[in-house]
Symmetry: C2
Subunit: 509 residues, 2 copies
């Protein structure tokens, strides 16, 4: 068996966190940059994680009464312009379609045909409030037509100058919910309901502890009345916004004229919400769980749960080992894990066993089951768990493996969550002076500028100017105004003015 | 109970088939045109049909060894140009992104920012052979890296001058499989395997009988060596191409340099295939099964299987009827249909029972279960089946309903297929002279120019000139050269030259 002498991933998290992130993606074969600037290719192992995310979250979105639909990729320029803040927020990152045909130019090269120039350019959707609003205006006439509770799984484009795979890409995949309601209360309730769904999903499936809260005004979705978010701490102690839910008030319904006749016979504007999570979640899963040996997949969303690796040194034991593994694979594949069957990889490729085991480790599969002739003889399996590390593998009887497999997966799931929660907690500090705040966000080790202090919970007076100053000075933003801090009012550490509560400051992705 | 006096859909199929098609889509609330020219909005009831199609077909694609992945929406102009026939085929329908930012112009209006003009324009993918080929060239080095068996679910854009919902839209949804192989035989086998998957899916899930065959050269996918298809007959006797599978030879691997070192140590070009089906299938389902009362959903892909409608005339029976329906709904919802639970709608809306029943009829739900006080008293249900028509509803004991529900759905599924197959067969003719051919494709009733003769199985010498002449003269094309006609060689009815076999001529969507 290969002996572990060094980590599978170079550099380690400590050595160079951003580069470690790129290497994890490569080693686990999750995705890669494409030749189209800022756009990624999501490879099968990474896409399978996304499919599992989709499947589970889609179920939760439907459970809460929403239905899926599909709206156009293109948005006429004039629609985007209907909500002033909205267009202001997205204009700088819009891909614009201006022609609908190519032709060969005088130089013999292909070019957009001048005669096929669009009268009104089309924007590739950066988000769909405006086009969906236009349709809702068409669908809603009376209070009986409300609420409209619709979700869409789609690709969106926001031109990205500094792309980073999964975290910031020009094209990304997401779901966007868009709802319209007859009352403000109902719309506010919906906004919170979906934030809770996201938090539930992040914590219970991605094993990603999150802090729920409201965004400050400067971080609000362009055109929203209020933006709520879930924020998670990555292993470099930076924050990742993992999902957002927006209460849009009547801004978009006024822009698109979503009007209805109330049960009192009055014409009213609807109240709308929108909410979304993206393929960025995959970046979050990577950064919160993976280690210096590669990706770590939370079992509940893992593309596969276990890999069976026949270890064959001699030709004469080959048939016997393969037969044993085959039976094991069949038996495990018939078992249920949650609502699904166990997903088992039976890796019969003709490469060295140690190499194979490392490959699956780097891919983050929760359990690796190695089977050699001695395991066959003793009716056992050599079991490695991704959360415990390769050095803690142990032999287990076949019966024990079968009877504990699902529990072990759930234990891994729990361990990952607990570990991440402890990490978040020990790296979150109540900071009560400007000096401490400055020290906290000044890199302490110039060799590792990418490992940060963590989350600072500090009092803030609510001033946008202060917020901007902090951002400029320390590169730190208010991640959210959390719902629940456990302590009450205080004094702003920057201005000495009264503060209603502590807020979360952090460097962020 | 509402008495049926006329059809729910105006006009009927006989009166005006194209308009009937639009009215079905409206009455069943499947989709609608959007203000973005040529792009449709797929509404929840229509999208749910697509989700079921996706789920089943995705399972079949995975069963045959493929994995899903995701590639960029945008394709650099230069990539498209690498395969000469390919670019020729798609250049005229490409949406072109030329700018990556908007700004406010001197007139105060939003415009593409001149300073943000792209050096190389990007095409919104009309299909992904070129961008995926580029990635495969990067992934493939040795014969050990082959085959690559990947599928993608995505949106694509082909600018459409005469859009028609589901059938021809500028943006549509599809899956596109792209595979690369080390040998021609293996690639050809893959092409056929996927054609068989499509035929299996169309016939056994969409209840859509299809004819499998090869396209003539002029109807080939641009850049392919051979294109195979499944063709179905709609109720106006026109053909609908319902899926295609392409053997691409080495054309795209040469264009993108997908090379590998063979087990003989030689550098070789890979052999590639691609295959796809689109949201056009929904148009096919509508046109093959629906009637003058609305949509007819094949049970295996229906968004919901049955609607329970409490019929409440008097307030005093309300609670009793609702309770009975609630129990019925619960019991049915717990039952399995194939790999899924029965999908049951319990429609408690406070509108007239007849109106409700017609609504569900128009939506094409396979079974409508009406329950009034008398049904409660006799422990029965008034059952309507979409394939039998509203006039054939009958009372059934609760036990009988429960014990036969799944069988009835399967019977509906079978009836729809059988009916469509008979329709296809009685409208397919062996035509053996040019005169008969001409008569067959000349509208016999000038009032109903949209109802056509059907499929003509005729001998053809293989000449593209003849094919073009027929197309110009009769608006008829060769739908496919079927694999199995049951009879052999003959004489071309247009030229008198020898013909290897009969081919399928028809008007087509």
């Amino acid at each position: 068996m290969m002996k572990k002498t060094k980590n599978a991933i170079t550099p380690t998290r400590e050595e160079d966190y951003p580069e470690w992130y790129q290497q994890i993606i490569k080693a686990a074969d999750l995705a890669q940059s494409s030749p189209v600037r800022g756009c990624m290719v999501i490879k099968p192992w990474g896409y399978s994680l996304w499919e599992n995310i989709q499947k589970i979250l889609d179920g939760m979105i439907k459970e809460t009464g929403h239905k899926n639909a599909y709206f156009p990729l293109f948005i006429p320029l004039s629609y985007l312009q209907k909500e002033a803040e909205h267009v202001e927020g997205f204009a700088k990152e819009c891909a614009v379609v201006t022609h609908h045909r190519l032709e060969t130019g005088p130089d013999g090269k292909l070019r957009p045909a001048p005669a096929a120039r669009l009268e009104e350019p089309l924007v590739v959707r950066p988000t769909s409030e405006t086009i969906i609003g236009e349709m809702y205006a068409n669908w809603v006439h009376s209070y009986r037509d409300l609420p409209i509770l619709i979700n869409q799984w789609a690709n969106v484009v926001r031109w990205e100058m500094r792309p980073r795979i999964f975290l910031r890409t020009t094209e990304f995949l997401w779901q966007e919910g868009h709802t319209a309601h007859a009352s403000e209360d109902e719309a506010r309730e919906e906004t919170m309901r979906m934030l809770d769904v996201y938090a539930d999903f992040a914590e219970n499936y991605l094993a990603m502890p999150v802090i729920k809260g409201e965004k400050s005004e400067s971080e609000r979705f362009p055109g929203a009345e209020a933006t709520y978010c879930i924020e998670a701490m990555m292993q470099d102690r930076k924050a990742l916004q993992a999902g957002t839910s927006h209460f849009l008030g009547q801004n978009f319904s006024k822009a698109a004229q979503i009007k209805y006749l109330s049960d009192q016979g009055r014409e009213e504007y609807a109240w709308t919400t929108s909410w979304g999570v993206t393929t960025r979640l995959i970046g979050g899963v990577i950064m919160i769980h993976s280690d210096d040996d590669g990706m770590v997949m939370p079992p509940r969303v893992a593309p596969s749960h276990m890999a069976i690796l026949p270890i064959i040194h001699k030709a004469e034991t080959r048939a016997q080992v393969l037969e044993y593994c085959e039976k094991l694979s069949k038996r495990l594949s018939e078992m249920s894990y949650g609502d699904n069957k166990l997903r088992v990889e039976f890796d019969t490729r003709d490469i060295h066993g140690g190499e194979k085991a490392w490959e699956w480790t780097k891919k983050g599969i929760p359990m690796v089951l190695e089977v050699g002739p001695r395991d066959v003889a003793s009716n056992s399996v050599f079991v490695g768990r991704r959360d415990l590390g390769r050095q803690n593998r142990k032999s287990m009887s076949l019966d024990e493996l079968i009877s504990t497999a699902v529990d072990q997966l759930e234990e891994i799931q729990k361990n990952l969550f607990d570990r991440a929660l402890v990490f978040q907690q020990v790296n979150t500090f109540r900071i009560d002076s400007k000096e401490d705040f400055e020290a906290f966000f000044t890199p302490r080790n110039q060799d590792k500028p990418e490992i940060h202090g963590g989350f600072a919970m500090s009092h803030w007076c609510g001033s946008a100017d202060v917020e901007e100053e902090i951002s400029n000075k320390y590169g730190v933003s208010i991640r959210c105004i959390p719902f629940d801090t456990g302590d009450g009012e205080g004094t702003c550490i920057f201005t000495g003015k009264p503060s209603k509560q502590r807020v979360v400051f952090a460097k962020a992705y």
